[in-house]
C-alpha cells in the first residue's frame, strides 16, 4: 500500500519567491485526492518536488518512505501527467512512448495498449507537432500509464480535453483509484490538481487545499463540506402549512421565491414532517455548500486578486488593477 508524505516541504526560487512554505500533507490510497489552490499557490511546484524534478529547499516529500530519485524503476511505481512536459514535435506519438518504455524495460505491446486506452491508436504514427492540446494531454496520460503505477499524479489533466474526454477521465480516475494494484495487494493513490472545482467535486474523495504555498485545509471532502452550511428547499402548494409544521419542529423555515426554504436542515429531518402532515410535494432539493464556496472560504483574499467585474462601458481591466478610473485595456492590449 502506497503512501505519500510531505513534511516541512519548502521551496524558495532564486532566494525570493517562496513557492511552497513548510507544507505537511499525506495522500492516502483508495481514492482520488484533489490538489486545489489558486494560481501560484504552489501546486505544480509541490508535484514536481514529489517527482524529483525540483529539489526542495528544505523538508521532504516521500513515496513509501523513499525519494522519487531513489526508486529503482520509477515508471513502474509512479505515473505523472505534467503541465509543461514536452514532446519533440517531429517524433511520433508511438516513438515518444517507446522512449519511456525502453528505459523502464517494458514491452512495446504496452505502448499500444496505452495508446488504445487514451484513444490515440489512430494517431499513433503521426508526429506530435501536429497534435491538438487535448491529444497531447492524452499522450501524456498514456505515458503515465505505461508502468501501471500505483501512484498517479496529474497536474491539470483536464486542460484541453473535450467534454467527452473530461467525462472519460473522471470515470477512469475513479475506477483506477479504487482498483487494487494487483501485484501489491493495496490500493492506488491518485492525486489530481485542478482549477475546475465543479469537476473536481465529482471525482475527489480527499482534498488538499493550498494557498500561498501553505496548507489551507486537508481532509475528506465529505467532512469538510459537512461542517458547512446546508439547506433544504421544497416546492409545495401547501407552503403555509409546511412552514408552520417545520417551525413547530423548531426548524427555521421561511417562504422565499415561492419555495419553502429551511436553512440548516437535512432532507432526513424535513421528509418525515411532510409525511406526517400529509403535505403534497412537487420538488425537494437538498443543497450543501459547494466545493467552490468552500474553496473561496479557504483561500479568500490570498492568491492573485481578481478584478471586481467588468466596467459598464464594456472595457476589460487587469486582474490586479483596482477599480478602473478610466477605460483601460486588459493584459494583452497593453495600452494602459
Amino acid at each position: 500500500m502506497a503512501t505519500i508524505q510531505a513534511r516541512g516541504l519548502t521551496k524558495r526560487f532564486g532566494g525570493e519567491v517562496l513557492a511552497v512554505d513548510h507544507l505537511d500533507f499525506d495522500a492516502v490510497p483508495g481514492g482520488v485526492t484533489g490538489f486545489l489552490g489558486p494560481n501560484g499557490a504552489g501546486k505544480t511546484t509541490t508535484l514536481r518536488m514529489l517527482l524529483g524534478l525540483v529539489t526542495p529547499t528544505s523538508g521532504s516529500v516521500l513515496i513509501d518512505g523513499h525519494r522519487y530519485r531513489d526508486l529503482p524503476n520509477p515508471t513502474m511505481r509512479v505515473g505523472a501527467v505534467l503541465e509543461a512536459s514536452g514532446f519533440h514535435p517531429a517524433r511520433t506519438a508511438r516513438n515518444h512512448l517507446k522512449l519511456t518504455a525502453t528505459v523502464a524495460g517494458l514491452p512495446f505491446r504496452r505502448v499500444d495498449e496505452c495508446l488504445d486506452l487514451v484513444g490515440l491508436s489512430e494517431a499513433a504514427d503521426r508526429s506530435v507537432g501536429g497534435f491538438s492540446m487535448g491529444m497531447r494531454q492524452r499522450l501524456e496520460l498514456a505515458r503515465a500509464m505505461l508502468g501501471k503505477p500505483d501512484v498517479l499524479v496529474l497536474d491539470e489533466p483536464a486542460n484541453g480535453l473535450d467534454p467527452q474526454g473530461i467525462a472519460w477521465l473522471r470515470d477512469f480516475l475513479r475506477v483506477y483509484a479504487s482498483e487494487g494494484a494487483s501485484d501489491r495487494g493495496g490500493k492506488r493513490i491518485v492525486i489530481v490538481s485542478s482549477h475546475l472545482l465543479s469537476e473536481a467535486q465529482l471525482i475527489v474523495d480527499d482534498v488538499i487545499v493550498l494557498t500561498g504555498g501553505r496548507l489551507a485545509a486537508q481532509g475528506r471532502l465529505q467532512d469538510l463540506l459537512a461542517g458547512s452550511k446546508r439547506s433544504v428547499r421544497v416546492q409545495t402548494p401547501d407552503a403555509e402549512r409546511l412552514v408552520q409544521a417545520l417551525r413547530a419542529a423548531s426548524l427555521p423555515a421561511v417562504v422565499r421565491d415561492g419555495y419553502v426554504v429551511c436553512d440548516g436542515a437535512t432532507p432526513q429531518a424535513v421528509g418525515p414532517i411532510m409525511v406526517e402532515n400529509r403535505i403534497e410535494v412537487h420538488e425537494m432539493v437538498s443543497s450543501t455548500e459547494s466545493l467552490e464556496s468552500l474553496f473561496f472560504a479557504l483561500t479568500g483574499g490570498e492568491g492573485m486578486q481578481v478584478g471586481h467585474g467588468v466596467a459598464s462601458t464594456g472595457d476589460y481591466r487587469r486582474f490586479d488593477d483596482g477599480p478602473a478610473a478610466s477605460p483601460s485595456v486588459g493584459p494583452i492590449g497593453g495600452q494602459a
Binding site: L53, V54, P74, R91, N95, K98, L99, A104, G105
Partner: protein, 285 residues
C-alpha cells in the same frame, strides 16, 4: 544502462533533424573535397607548391579537409542534450530516469557513437570523392586522344589503366592513414559538444559558442601562443591525424595523437561533469 543507451539511440533516429545533419555532413564533405581538388592553380599544394594529380600528397591534401565534419559532430553532441531542454523532453526523460548523472553518461556514450558514425560516413564520402576524382582525370585524359586511332587508342587505354591503378593505390593508402584520425576526432568532438551543451543548456548558445571557439578563438590563440593552442580542442583533434603532420608543410605545433585524444576526452568529460553538477542538477520547471 543498456536500456538508457537504447532509448538515447531511439531518440536520435526517430527525428528527421538527425538525418538532415548527416546529410549536411555529406554535402559539406563533397563541397570541400571537390573545391580543394578542382581549385585552379594547384593552391592545395600549400607550401609544397603544386602537387601533381593522383600523387600521394595530393590525396592527403584532398582527404584531410574532411576533418571539417568534426564541427558538425560538435553540433550533434550539443543538440543531443540541449534538444531535451529546447523541447522540454527533459521532463519525461528525468521522470523515467531520475538519476541524472546516468542520463548524461548514456548521452556521452551515444554522442561518441554517433560522432564515430558521422566520421565513418565522412570517410565513405571521401572514398566516393576520390574515385570520382580519379575517374574524371582518366576520362579527361582519354577524350582528346580517343579519335579512332586503333594503335594509339589501345596504348592510351593501357596508359590510363596504369594511371588508374597507381592513383587508386595512392588513394587507398592515404585514405587509410587519414580515416582513423578523422573518425576518432569526430567521435571525441561529439563528446566535447555534449559537454558544452550540458554546461550551457541553451541550444543556440551552445552551438554558437562551440563554433566561435573552434573556428575563431582557437585560430587566434594558436597563432599567438602556439604552446597553448596545441592543447585546445580543435588542435587536439588535428593531432589525431597522423597525416596532418606531413600536410601543408607542418606549420602548426601539435601534440602526439594520443595526447590529442586525451585532451579532447578531458574537455568533453570535464564539461559534462561540470554541466551535470550545475545546469543539470537545477530544477526542471
Amino acid at each position: 544502462m543498456t536500456r538508457l543507451l537504447g532509448a538515447e539511440i531511439r531518440k536520435l533516429w526517430t527525428i528527421w533533424s538527425t538525418y538532415v545533419l548527416f546529410g549536411i555532413v555529406v554535402v559539406i564533405d563533397l563541397a570541400f573535397g571537390f573545391g580543394l581538388a578542382l581549385a585552379p592553380g594547384g593552391r592545395h599544394g600549400g607550401s609544397a607548391g603544386v602537387v601533381p594529380h593522383g600523387s600521394s600528397q595530393w590525396f592527403i591534401n584532398v582527404f584531410s579537409v574532411l576533418d571539417v565534419s568534426r564541427i558538425l559532430a560538435l553540433v550533434l553532441g550539443a543538440i543531443i542534450i540541449t534538444g531535451e531542454y529546447r523541447h522540454k523532453t527533459v521532463t519525461p526523460t528525468f521522470l523515467a530516469e531520475p538519476r541524472r548523472g546516468r542520463v548524461v553518461t548514456a548521452k556521452l556514450g551515444i554522442s561518441f557513437g554517433s560522432g564515430v558514425v558521422l566520421g565513418a560516413l565522412t570517410m565513405v564520402t571521401g572514398l566516393v570523392l576520390g574515385f570520382v576524382l580519379v575517374a574524371m582525370k582518366v576520362h579527361s585524359c582519354l577524350t582528346p586522344l580517343g579519335v579512332s586511332q586503333g594503335m594509339s587508342q589501345a596504348l592510351c587505354g593501357v596508359r590510363h589503366g596504369v594511371y588508374y591503378v597507381a592513383t587508386t593505390h595512392n588513394m587507398w593508402h592515404d585514405w587509410s592513414r587519414i580515416a582513423p584520425g578523422v573518425v576518432l576526432g569526430t567521435g571525441l568532438f561529439a563528446i566535447y559538444g555534449l559537454g558544452l551543451g550540458a554546461l550551457l543548456k541553451n541550444q543556440i548558445v551552445a552551438i554558437v559558442v562551440g563554433l566561435v571557439f573552434t573556428l575563431v578563438v582557437e585560430a587566434i590563440v594558436g597563432a599567438i601562443w602556439p604552446t597553448i593552442g596545441e592543447y585546445l580542442p580543435g588542435q587536439a583533434a588535428t593531432a589525431l591525424e597522423d597525416a596532418a603532420r606531413t600536410n601543408f608543410g607542418g606549420t602548426t605545433q601539435l601534440l602526439p595523437w594520443w595526447g590529442g585524444a586525451c585532451m579532447l576526452l578531458i574537455y568533453g568529460i570535464a564539461l559534462a561533469f561540470l554541466g551535470t553538477f550545475t545546469t543539470l542538477r537545477s530544477d526542471v520547471t
